[in-house]
Symmetry: C2
Subunit: 201 residues, 2 copies
Amino acid sequence: MEIVTLDLEGVLVPEIWIAFAEKSGIEALKRTTRDEPDYHRLMQYRMDILREHGFKLSDIQNVIANIKPLEGAKEFLDKLRELTQVIILSDTFSEFALPLMRQLGYPTIFCNSLVIDESGMLSDIRMRTENGKKKAVEALKAIGFRVFASGDSYNDLAMIREADGGCLFRAPENILKSERDLSLVTEYDDLLEKIKAFING
Amino acid sequence: MEIVTLDLEGVLVPEIWIAFAEKSGIEALKRTTRDEPDYHRLMQYRMDILREHGFKLSDIQNVIANIKPLEGAKEFLDKLRELTQVIILSDTFSEFALPLMRQLGYPTIFCNSLVIDESGMLSDIRMRTENGKKKAVEALKAIGFRVFASGDSYNDLAMIREADGGCLFRAPENILKSERDLSLVTEYDDLLEKIKAFING
């Protein structure tokens, strides 16, 4: 019995913070883990900016609702869910993911969550567990699943390597260079074929 | 971060073998684990009957496609998936579940699978793991989820007791008598309220 675990941002939807910065016009929110490697500090920086601009969670969700999944992502996911089970493993927050999940037909997603204060503003983050993606694959294997994993980022590598099968999807040059043993796929149809081969193999 | 695990048959859809026996007119398929407690022997009995009647998997799936989810189940599940993550935990087979999952909007389901021979007939069953429902709840807790579970049958009790919260849903009299400490819900709206209270509690 097989299951597929997929990264969200860069695989099915655009990078949420980048897209949000563009839609909202707040350039300062384009800062990423490349600029600030400490994730908790980066999130504190982002939450401070959102507060300065008076953005409540509901405002943010309204902006995210206008971010579209990547072209072909919904169709790919529909075909995949007809074929096998799918869980999206992401380091984003469920409150941000919701408007996108709605557009993708509510696939199951394992991610983190936000703490919202009484005024509706973001006040903290709550990580479900450390190394969430790798641990989720381990847990799925422990209950009898053969797991296929795919993603595009450094935080997907442990998940892909822990899985029984997998590949990179539209990964950037630096990852392709450092992870030469992992295969790369750039189109949804090819990813679907790779998953079919895994299921039948 | 919360997740809800739900039994399938009796909670979201009718008992599949009973409904199949009725739709197909094969009375002998109404035999259940009450008549034959050994599940593997019961399944062998069912597979023999299907073969006698010349029923291939595709024929069975066509019949199952005409079985409707329970009244209100889709609407309940839609509301629940807007609210939190959901995984259906079932002892049925993915090949039987598929036509029903399609009608329910492809929620994620963890179940078992069938072995199909070259003529398209059922030849064996493949259990993903023993005590699959309880183990799935354990695995979800291990990766940081608070789990709410609900079901109607004996094979749901370990899952409900392992979860952080839960209740019986439309359970029969004998279970209500033996499990007096578990609360019972019979309507989807009440189940949704119970889950909301769990999430907020």
